[in-house]
């Protein structure tokens, strides 16, 4: 139980609050702050559940993509803000730093592997979010029609 608390819940709360902090920087008001925070927590939870690999980052950013498209439809707002802020915890800031530290220390092989890992993370994030975003956009008219037929 304690393991679940320290391994999953606490990091997600941290990711949520960090995203709320960022939404102040990007001038997001009202409900938008909460949406960004929940999006960040969701992304980080999936990243942790997937084992913190590049593929996990891909899944997390795919989930964030769908989540922010849905929220943008509900609030009738541009999707940009939610997507941007919710993706921020996953951006490989640590990768840049560690790659640089190996470079300064002269450890070429670890520098290169960290650098490639960082690029992989960045590519996984970008492709994951955009792929689901585009899929959602393609599928949305059908979903919308289905819903209105049911009513």
């Amino acid at each position: 139980m304690i393991l679940i608390w320290t391994d999953y819940i606490l990091p997600c709360v941290c990711a949520c609050l960090a995203c709320v902090g960022f939404s102040l920087v990007f001038n997001i008001h009202g409900m938008g702050k909460l949406i960004c925070g929940v999006g960040g927590a969701l992304g980080w939870l999936i990243y942790l559940l997937g084992g913190s690999t590049i593929f996990a980052a891909f899944l997390a950013s795919a989930a964030i993509g769908v989540y922010s498209e849905v929220m943008a439809r509900i609030r009738r707002c541009p999707v940009t803000g939610y997507l941007l802020v919710a993706l921020l915890p996953l951006v490989p800031g640590g990768g840049i730093y560690y790659a640089m530290s190996y470079c300064v220390a002269g450890d070429v092989s670890r520098f290169l592997s960290t650098l490639l890992h960082t690029f992989g993370m960045a590519a996984a994030l970008a492709v994951g979010a955009m792929l689901t975003s585009s899929l959602f956009r393609a599928a949305y008219p059908y979903l919308y029609r289905l819903r209105s037929v049911k009513r």
Binding site: V25, R76, A126, M130
Partner: protein
Amino acid sequence: MDYDKLLNISVELGCQLMSSGAEIYRVEESVRRLLQAYGLESPEVFAIPNCVIVSVTTPEGHPITRMRRIGSHGTNIELLERCNALCRQLCTQPPSVDKAQELLSATVKGSPKYAAWQVLMGYGIAPAFFSPLFGGGVTDALAAMTGGLAVGICLLYGSRFIGSNSFFRTAFCSALASLLSLALVQIGLGNSLDTVTIGTLMVLVPGMALTNAMREIMAGDIISGLSRAAESILTAAAIAIGSALGLGLVEML
């Protein structure tokens, strides 16, 4: 109808959208829809991250073009949402041109902005909660918060001293972050140098440019996508160069 005024309004709207951080296709689409709502047959809009060009042909066959250069800008999601809503409103029920002008300037003026201390608080909160994500404890969070506040002050008020060149600004801020976290860890606030530094650097990472670059490329705006991708790689390089300064100092000590 006064087509000169209409053109001015649409260019102004495009400029506001772009400088609040909208994607290229949103800017082009909004301006085109607005002009079509006012009955123009085939308005041409071209946008790249720092320039908007709008060209229309009046019903008499007279072509008019306006170009607007857009300087470096931040991100202002609230203004983006409001401009988007205004554009939707203008397109469904186009009012007279003068009225539209009034509505646009009221939107730009009436968009709320956080006060400087609130933005600064954001710069402090974000690193404080990022460092636990990378394995830091409570003291690391406090140290990262101090670093984040310093970087925030530097970004908000320091543009007079460090210039408006974004590469140099990022490098300077990241050097400041790494030196400050080195100092804080030395005096005992914070245990692990790595988590404190990474938490602080997360404020500077080019998440925004990276996400937007990919969105542009997927939408088919290759020029803008490539320029934003180059921007994000440059920013990452600037962060690396800046933080290398702090790390180099550690190596020497």
